[in-house]
C-alpha cells in the first residue's frame, strides 16, 4: 500500500508528490492524460521581465524532480470512483483497484461550454483544446478561427494562437441568453479584460489596453467602437457584436455575427458572415470536483473561486479524514499558485503520516502561497482573495458546529 495516492499530475499534484517524497513518504501519482504536467503543459506567455513562462519546460522539470525522488507516476489511467473503508482509500481506475492511506485530489479544472447554435460541429472546440493542439501537440487547430467568449483565458490563448501563426479573425461575444448572461455584456467583459492588458507580448499592443484604464474610457471604449471593435495584440476584439450561429454542415465553415446593443441585444438586420475553419468557445473554468463529491466532501458555491469548491482549510485538509485537495480543485488560479498549494498539501500529508516538526514549514508555505497569489500574473477572478476567505469562514463554521 502507498502512503499517499495523488490524483492529478498537474503542477499541484506533482509538487505535492515531490514534497511528500522529500519527507520520506512513498507516493503514487495517477493521471489520465498522456503526459505529466496537467494544464500547465499548454501555457506560454512572456512575463514583464521578458522571461517566457513555457509550460512544457516547467512541467518537465517538475516531472524530473519527482522521478529523481522515486515518486511513481502512472499516466493514461482514469480514476472513476473512490471509496473509504477501514481507514484506507480504495481507488478505482481503468486498469485496476489500488489502495492508500492518504489521498490527495489535484484534479484541476474543466471548461464551461457556451451552447451557441451549431456548437457540436467538428471544428468547434473549447479554447483550451486549441491551446493544447497548438502548444503541446504542435498542430494548428485550423487556419483561421473565431473565438467566442472574451475573458482572461481566451485573450491569452488568442495571443498564443497568433504566435504559432494561426489567424484569429475575431474575439467576440456569444449571443446573450440565460446561460451566457455576464459573458454577453460588453461592459462586464471589458472590465474583466483589464486584468489581461499587461500580458501583451510587445509594446505596441499595450497601448490599446492602457487607453481603457479608467472608467470613463471604458464607457467610451464600448460606445465609441460600436461596430468595428478595437484591437488588442492585433486581434480584433468585438464587444458590440455577437456570434448568433456557427455555420456548416459537416464541419465549421464560418459564423453568423450580429451587432448587439450595449446591454447585449441583437440589432435586427445587422447580421454578417465571417469565414473560418475553426471556432473556439471560451466559457470560463470551474473546479473539477466529482471525486471529492463521491467521497462525500461538503461543497460550497464560491463565485470568486469559479464555482462549487470542496470545503477545505488553509492546510489543504477536507473535513474527511485523510482526504486533501490542492490546486484548481480548490479555486481557479494560475499554475504558480497550484504549485505552492501542492507544497502545503504535501507537508500536511507528511505531518499526518507521522513526520514531526513541520508546523513552522507549513506556516511558511501558506504565507508563500499568499505572496504568490498577490503577485499572480494571470488572475482568473479579481476577488479570489475574498473567495479564499469565504471558504475559510465556512470551514470555521463547520468545525465549530461539528459533533
Amino acid at each position: 500500500m502507498n502512503d499517499v495516492i495523488i490524483i492529478g499530475a498537474g503542477p499541484a499534484g506533482l509538487s505535492a508528490a515531490i514534497t511528500c517524497a522529500k519527507n520520506g513518504l512513498s507516493s503514487l501519482v495517477i493521471d489520465e492524460y498522456l503526459k505529466p504536467g496537467g494544464r500547465l503543459l499548454g501555457q506560454l506567455y512572456e512575463e514583464p521581465s521578458g522571461f517566457w513562462w513555457n509550460g512544457i519546460k516547467e512541467s518537465e522539470s517538475l516531472y524530473q524532480e519527482a522521478i529523481e525522488l522515486d515518486v511513481q507516476i502512472q499516466l493514461n489511467t482514469s480514476v472513476h470512483n473512490i471509496e473509504k473503508e477501514n481507514n484506507y482509500w480504495i481507488i478505482y481506475t481503468e486498469t485496476g483497484i489500488i489502495y492508500s492511506e492518504q489521498l490527495l485530489l489535484a484534479t484541476g479544472a474543466a471548461e464551461s461550454p457556451i451552447p451557441v447554435p451549431g456548437w457540436t460541429l467538428p471544428g468547434v472546440m473549447s479554447v483550451g483544446a486549441a491551446q493544447v493542439m497548438t502548444n503541446v501537440h504542435r498542430i494548428k487547430p485550423g487556419e483561421r478561427g473565431v473565438i467566442i467568449g472574451v475573458n482572461v483565458l481566451s485573450a491569452a490563448i488568442a495571443m498564443e494562437l497568433q504566435l504559432a501563426g494561426v489567424k484569429v479573425a475575431s474575439l467576440t461575444l456569444p449571443k446573450m441568453n440565460k446561460v451566457t448572461q455576464d459573458a454577453a455584456q460588453p461592459g462586464e467583459v471589458l472590465d474583466s479584460l483589464l486584468h489581461v492588458s499587461h500580458m501583451a507580448p510587445s509594446k505596441v499592443i499595450r497601448f490599446g489596453s492602457k487607453l481603457m484604464n479608467n472608467d470613463v474610457m471604458k464607457k467610451i471604449g464600448v460606445s465609441f467602437y460600436p461596430k468595428q471593435g478595437f484591437k488588442m495584440w492585433d486581434i480584433p476584439i468585438q464587444l458590440r457584436k455577437a456570434v448568433i450561429e456557427i455555420c456548416g454542415e459537416e464541419a465549421v465553415t464560418g459564423v453568423k455575427i450580429a451587432t448587439i446593443s450595449a446591454n447585449g441585444e441583437v440589432v435586427k438586420g445587422s447580421e454578417e458572415h465571417i469565414d473560418c475553419d475553426f471556432i473556439c468557445i471560451a466559457g470560463g473554468l470551474y473546479p473539477l470536483t466529482e471525486l471529492a463529491a463521491v467521497a462525500g466532501c461538503p461543497f460550497y458555491l464560491v463565485e470568486e473561486l469559479g464555482g462549487y469548491v470542496p470545503l477545505h482549510n488553509e492546510q489543504m485538509e477536507t473535513p474527511i479524514e485523510n482526504l486533501y485537495v490542492a490546486g484548481n480543485i480548490t479555486g481557479i488560479e494560475g499554475a504558480k499558485v497550484a504549485i505552492k498549494q501542492g507544497v502545503i498539501a504535501g507537508l500536511t500529508i507528511s505531518g499526518n503520516a507521522g513526520v514531526s516538526g513541520l508546523t513552522q514549514e507549513i506556516r511558511r508555505a501558506i504565507k508563500l502561497t499568499e505572496q504568490t497569489r498577490d503577485n499572480a500574473y494571470i488572475q482568473f477572478h479579481p476577488d479570489v482573495k475574498k473567495g479564499r476567505k469565504a471558504i475559510q469562514e465556512k470551514w470555521k463554521d463547520c468545525m465549530s458546529t461539528a459533533p
Partner: protein, 112 residues
C-alpha cells in the same frame, strides 16, 4: 487545413520525428509516435471522429483533455476510447462509430 507547427518562435523546432502508421475507417495514415490520436487525426485533416448515436450528426474533438467524451472512437476493437487521451501506436486500428438503430422511435413516428 491543420498543419503541424514545425517551427515555433518560442517553443523552437519540433523535436519528435518518429512516424508510425495507423488506420482510421480503413484508410492508412501516418502520425507521430505517442502523440494523441486526436492530434494525429487532425494533422491528417480529419475533424469528424464519430457520428452522434441518435441524430447521426458529425462530432469531433471538443475539449481535447478528456472531459467531454465527444472524441470517442473504437481502437483495436475496444469502443468508447477517448481519442484525445490515447497515445498513437504503430499499427493502431481506429474506427468511428455511426448512428445507432432506434426502432422504437421509428415505429412511433410512423404510427402517430
Amino acid at each position: 487545413m491543420s498543419e503541424r507547427i514545425y517551427d515555433h518562435p518560442v517553443l523552437g523546432a519540433l523535436k519528435e520525428n518518429e512516424y508510425v502508421t495507423f488506420s482510421f475507417n480503413d484508410e492508412e495514415y501516418k502520425g507521430l509516435k505517442d502523440e494523441s490520436l486526436a492530434a494525429a487525426l487532425l494533422a491528417n485533416g480529419i475533424r469528424t471522429l464519430r457520428h452522434h448515436e441518435e441524430t447521426g450528426r458529425p462530432r469531433g474533438v471538443y475539449c481535447n483533455i478528456g472531459h467531454c467524451f465527444e472524441c470517442r472512437v473504437k481502437v483495436n476493437g475496444k469502443s468508447g476510447v477517448r481519442a484525445c487521451l490515447t497515445p498513437l501506436k504503430e499499427g493502431m486500428v481506429v474506427e468511428s462509430g455511426g448512428k445507432l438503430p432506434t426502432p422504437v422511435r421509428d415505429w412511433r413516428a410512423e404510427n402517430e
